[in-house]
Symmetry: none
Subunit: 228 residues, 2 copies
DNA sequence: TTGCCTATCACATGACTATGCGAGGTTTCA
DNA sequence: TGAAACCTCGCATAGTCATGTGATAGGCAA
């Protein structure tokens, strides 16, 4: 039984490659293909108005669609065709975007960079109730949860460092603020009227307290946790 | 190269079955086995005090441990052995518990009911950077996100200043994401399987497009504007 | 007095970063 | 066909970063 796929993707090149893929892959059948969610929803409406249902079993929906975006399109699809498996596609691994997709009711989420064989495997799995996420996306989801979930209460016998209580000194904080602005050590030194070696000393302390090892990590933490 | 596994599991029967499994499965080697997190941490501390490191590459940690629970043990392991892959085990599919495990920094999460073949496959995948979650757990995580994410967030991403329209190419975006994580050029190169000079080329393009001149500025912009 | 914390500063050095400049291959489009 | 975009890669190099190690001085509390 071939899996009938509907593609909703505005990029002609990618859409055509998907069409070719599903046309030529055993186990799949190209049900329909649209360059916009609007066109797809019109088609759906026309079919249903004629008392018919599309034969689609799986929908591949690009998130970044012109007009009606992929997330809205997904909501429509899940509402009107609840049995349809909807898998969303995008270039980006943006956590907020994944979150949006998840709340839209999508059954799966794939990155466009996913190679065809893995994409096909993943689609089959998702359609048959298997894993809704590729490893990459799963890791992103985990990161999302880690970033947004307060630390749980756990035993205290071997209490690890408590990163939420940083105890940065005034000077350390000033140095960190300068780093966040993109200042070099030399610029920090000039701005705070101290030597570059003193800057280094403070930065060492900041990194130790933040448990980071690079300016990138320090800046990321500072901004995300509103430290500086 | 056999994957050296450390087991931390209080149930003797399950622990012994795991010991047998890893002793007899090609590709795995039993590195150590403990009935409690306390015993493991003592051993780790003794080793490190002697200036040595355990040879463990993968840890299987039961969540429900007496004394120091698996979550706290995981935190400790990730802190002292950052390269160690930690997979947590439990009988429960309790979403809050999964969430707790995720925030502890575990690399994977498995249910004890997972049959041995799948367990081994999953461990290999997790250890080599593959999927951190079984399909069951992924679905639980998605349900968790769906249940806890207010619908009001819908559309927020697309209402922002369209940060994705910076015209970063897929590759440039990937590189920027790595920078945000604090990866060095060398690490980015390794992660993306390209040369360090290619990394530099992409970074040049990213900086030009973001109009920045340092990794700090790039990271700051990326996080603040949800670019990466 | 001693110990701790903070701030200041220094020397040393290997690794890393940012930038200039150059090149080749593939795909798409006018 | 040529240009543009993208990806890949290279050489060169000055400047910068991260870290180890050491030191002084002042303030404060036990």
């Amino acid at each position: 039984m071939d899996l009938s796929v509907v593609i909703i993707e505005d990029d002609p090149r990618y859409r055509h490659s998907l069409e070719t893929l599903f046309t030529n892959t055993p186990g799949f059948r190209l049900g329909a293909s649209f360059g916009s969610a609007y066109a797809m929803l019109q088609d759906l409406e026309n079919l249903q108005r004629a008392g018919r249902e599309p034969s689609w079993q799986l929908a591949l929906v690009d998130v970044e669609l012109p007009g009606i975006n992929g997330i809205e399109a997904t909501r429509h699809l899940k509402k009107h065709l609840p049995a349809l498996t909807v898998v969303m596609l995008t270039v980006f691994e943006e956590p907020a975007l994944i979150l949006e997709a998840i709340t839209s009711g999508a059954d799966g989420y794939l990155l466009k960079k996913t190679p065809a064989p893995e994409l096909l495997t993943q689609l089959k799995e998702t359609a048959s109730g298997g894993s809704p996420l590729t490893p990459d996306v799963a890791r992103t989801v985990l990161s999302l949860l880690r970033a947004n979930t307060p630390k749980g209460i756990a035993g205290k016998f071997f209490n690890s460092a408590s990163p939420t209580k940083l105890n940065l000194t005034e000077r350390e904080h000033a140095v960190l603020q300068s780093l966040v602005k993109g200042h070099s050590y030399k610029q920090v030194a000039s701005k705070l009227n101290i030597s570059i070696d003193t800057v280094r000393t403070h930065i060492r302390a900041v990194y130790r307290k933040l448990q980071v090892h690079s300016v990138a990590e320090a800046v990321a933490r500072a901004i995300r946790e509103k430290i500086a």
